[in-house]
């Protein structure tokens, strides 16, 4: 039977898409890159996922797991055709309030999980800005972060177990509520593997008790370095707030023009800080953050008076990318990290690079983690601009690596940064990574061409070093 017949035998006619316009949609994600899907499959159950994997293997066609397609590193795009496996129908949630855990279908939307847990005084800590759209499967695959991962850690710190479908359609349940499962922690390795080791069908996640008290502060500064220095000084003073987020003037203005959140636009940067815990601690830590801010030149310290004001401030922060989309046809951002003590100089260098290329750069970032997102607004219909944006982006990443930083803090490597892996790792490091992949997926069917550059396996010497094809970009 043909591939499509086999898929339909497993899923029925209506859960396999093949119309060009549908395939077009599933050939892109939130990055600037695109590929070409052969079919899109919508399994409902783990058994169906396993059956689809076996069909793909029988036809030697790649499987590209896909959640909501909000990924920014081109992780979910089919590079050279293949079956896009959409998890959106796998959306069950089973709470265990006593153990503060939940088994969650891969297709569950991040925010829906926290809404489900809220009546029990619990929440799921990872809160990417895309949380109203992105899926738990995508969060697990990318080890996604969020504003509140500063104190609580990114997705991997909240995943206790996984149900996965691996090569051969083998279904494994890894980890569990008990800590320290004996043997190698395969579950932990699958988190952050960007769909290249197998398909995550369900995740057992840890939920946290909603804190007794919270205080959200908005500080505004006459220069960006005052804001970044405040962040470094707060961490150095021994306080790890729940969140420390910075937006520069351009970004704040874009958000304010769109949402009218009451953000000050006449300053160089704003710092959004949140402290949580017992009321006494919240009081003391809020006072510390504000005094460190004032020492570093903050003009005002505004404290959200109620939940409504707090929600507006966070909506402003989490809508940042969307706000740029209102004012520019395209934007491109890099997700890089530097040691927190080197934030100030890195931000200066990023600005200098943008100036050199004559580009508009907007900054919004998880400052507490040293995680930058310099965002360049441009018009992609101008090929000269696209090229400039790429080159400037690469220089920004290089500037971070030169300061002991990392290629990506939370968005993943995907296809986008795969060739840059050589700038961070040695051949032997990459070879070791390629071996991890090989142990899971010897045939290379799961999300090929992602994460590792071609020829990473040292013994592939004969192989040509293929770079990302130019045509993959928008």
């Amino acid at each position: 039977m043909s591939l499509v017949q086999d898929l339909r035998a497993v899923l029925g006619d209506d859960r396999v898409l093949e119309e060009p316009v549908e395939l077009y949609l599933y050939s892109r994600d939130a990055s600037l890159m695109h590929g070409q899907a052969t079919y899109v499959a919508f399994p409902h159950t783990t058994a169906e996922v396993a059956a689809v994997v076996r069909v793909a293997e029988a036809h030697a066609v790649p499987i590209i797991p896909r959640g909501a397609g909000t990924g920014l590193a081109a992780g979910a795009i089919p590079v050279d055709g293949g079956i896009v496996l959409s998890t959106t129908s796998m959306n069950q949630i089973e709470l265990d309030v006593d153990n503060r855990t939940a088994w969650v279908g891969a297709g569950v939307i991040n925010l829906d999980l926290s809404k489900e847990a809220e009546p029990y005084g619990l929440s799921f800590a990872p809160d990417p800005s895309s949380q109203s759209a992105c899926t738990i499967g995508g969060n697990v695959a990318n080890n996604s972060g969020g504003a509140h991962c500063l104190a609580e850690g990114a997705t991997t710190s909240h995943v206790l177990g996984l149900e996965v479908v691996l090569a051969g359609g083998e279904v494994l349940v890894l980890g569990g509520q008990a800590p320290d499962t004996p043997g190698l922690d395969l579950k932990g390795l699958i988190v952050g593997s960007e769909g290249t080791l197998g398909v995550v069908t369900r995740a057992l996640v840890r939920l946290l008790p909603i804190e007794a008290d919270v205080r959200t502060l908005l500080l505004d500064f006459e220069d960006l370095s005052g804001a970044t220095r405040t962040v470094s000084d707060v961490i150095a003073a021994g306080v790890v707030p729940a969140a420390l987020e910075i937006m520069d003037q351009k970004m704040t203005t874009a958000v304010e023009n769109w949402l009218r959140a009451g953000l000050p636009c006449d300053c160089a940067a704003i710092l959004l800080a949140e402290v949580v815990g017992e009321p006494e601690a919240v009081e003391a830590e809020a006072a510390l953050v504000s005094s460190i801010g004032l020492e570093n030149g903050a003009r005002n310290v505004q404290v959200a008076r109620d939940e409504e004001e707090r929600a507006i401030l966070w909506k402003g922060r989490k809508s940042a990318f969307g706000a740029v989309a209102q004012v520019s046809p395209n934007y491109y951002l890099h997700d890089t990290v530097v040691p927190r003590s080197r934030l100030v100089e890195t931000m200066e260098e990023v600005q200098a690079i943008a100036d050199r290329y004559g580009l508009d750069v907007y900054n919004v970032f998880h400052a507490g983690d040293g995680n930058l997102h310099p965002l360049m607004a441009f018009d992609a219909s101008d090929p000269v601009m696209l090229d400039k944006v790429h080159r400037a982006g690469e220089e920004m990443v290089a500037a971070c690596l030169a300061r002991g930083g990392a290629l990506s803090g939370e968005h993943g490597i995907g296809l986008e940064k795969r060739d840059m892996m050589r700038d961070d790792f040695t051949e032997l490091d990459l070879d070791a990574q390629a071996r991890l992949k090989e142990a899971f997926d010897p045939a290379g069917l799961f999300n090929p061409a992602k994460v590792l550059p071609e020829g990473s396996r040292c013994f592939d010497f004969g192989g040509v070093r293929r770079e990302i094809p130019d045509g993959a970009w928008l």
Binding site: G145, A154, T156, S157, L184, A212, K417, R435
Partner: protein, 356 residues
Amino acid sequence: MTEAAGGGRRAYREVTPDSVETLALVLREATESRSVVQVVGGGTRQGYGSPPAPDIVLDMAGLSGIEEWDPDDLTVTVGAGTPVADLEAELAGRSQTAVLPEVPGASTVGGVVAAGMSSLRRGRLLGTRERMLEVRLVTGDGRVVRGGGRVVKNVSGYDLPRLVVGAFGSLGVITSVCLKLWPRPPAAATVSIGDLESAGRVRRPLAVLEHDGSTEVFLWGTPEEVFSSTARLEGESREGHHWPADPAGPYRWSLRIPPASTTAGVSRLPPVWSYLAIHGAGEIRAASDVPDGAEDLRGWAEGVGGSLVVVEAPKDGINGLDPWGKPPPGLEIQRRLIAQFDPARVINPGRLPGGL
């Protein structure tokens, strides 16, 4: 590098490499000659699994010391042979902690990571895997490999740093790690409480430990917060943290169960066992003179999705009890993974479940 002839039942070579390059050489040779290499940090956790007698004993003391520590970044990079006690003492000087075991004895950082041991504060600050930012290791066939990086957030490539936690060196001998540190807040207290129930009056305590009949809540934070939490607990309070040592005995056990089953776990321990239960984390450390009752306990633990692990037992004293119990799922993949890093299986063979 120093070498010495080992005593005991069988001769082995003792090697203390003083550089990564020397270590790589030793391992490459071991792979060529198919020698069994036993890696020793502080020697406090050599009882796991059922390893064969070693041909080479690797003493990691030559690869120790703080390599890089920027207190403002809350990260530290240390050699694997660094004693945990030395590292934590150094960090405490700047009011920081790596959240490693509190009563480590001679344990080294590499040993704690490889054996997957965690802090008693894990209910609040999570286990050792959450501290891992970067790892450098030498594979069984002598390749020097790095994973991760020296920043607090990183998704560049597969998560090798976390994978080596609890892997007993099967992917390579760990030479250094970069750890995420945590600030030590200004105030700390240890409060003895009468019943476990009342611990619930503090929302997220640093630790709730039960050992041999008594229960203590460990608090830290701002002075105001610690003061008010102490008052709410209504127990006898002492300033600072007074951490209990792990129970000692010829048999040592690690019971791992869902957190909500911790009280049930304590009640199921044979009455003569001594124990230290970490509430909220699902870990109970225990010790006994004889292994009686272990089989029943293991049956119960596996029934609730957990395990009972033999941490230490007298030679030949384990009465046919498997050191790990029911093998975990995915053994075949684990075997393939290990084969990619240690093809001749020379580093600490037989330590892991399933005889890996």
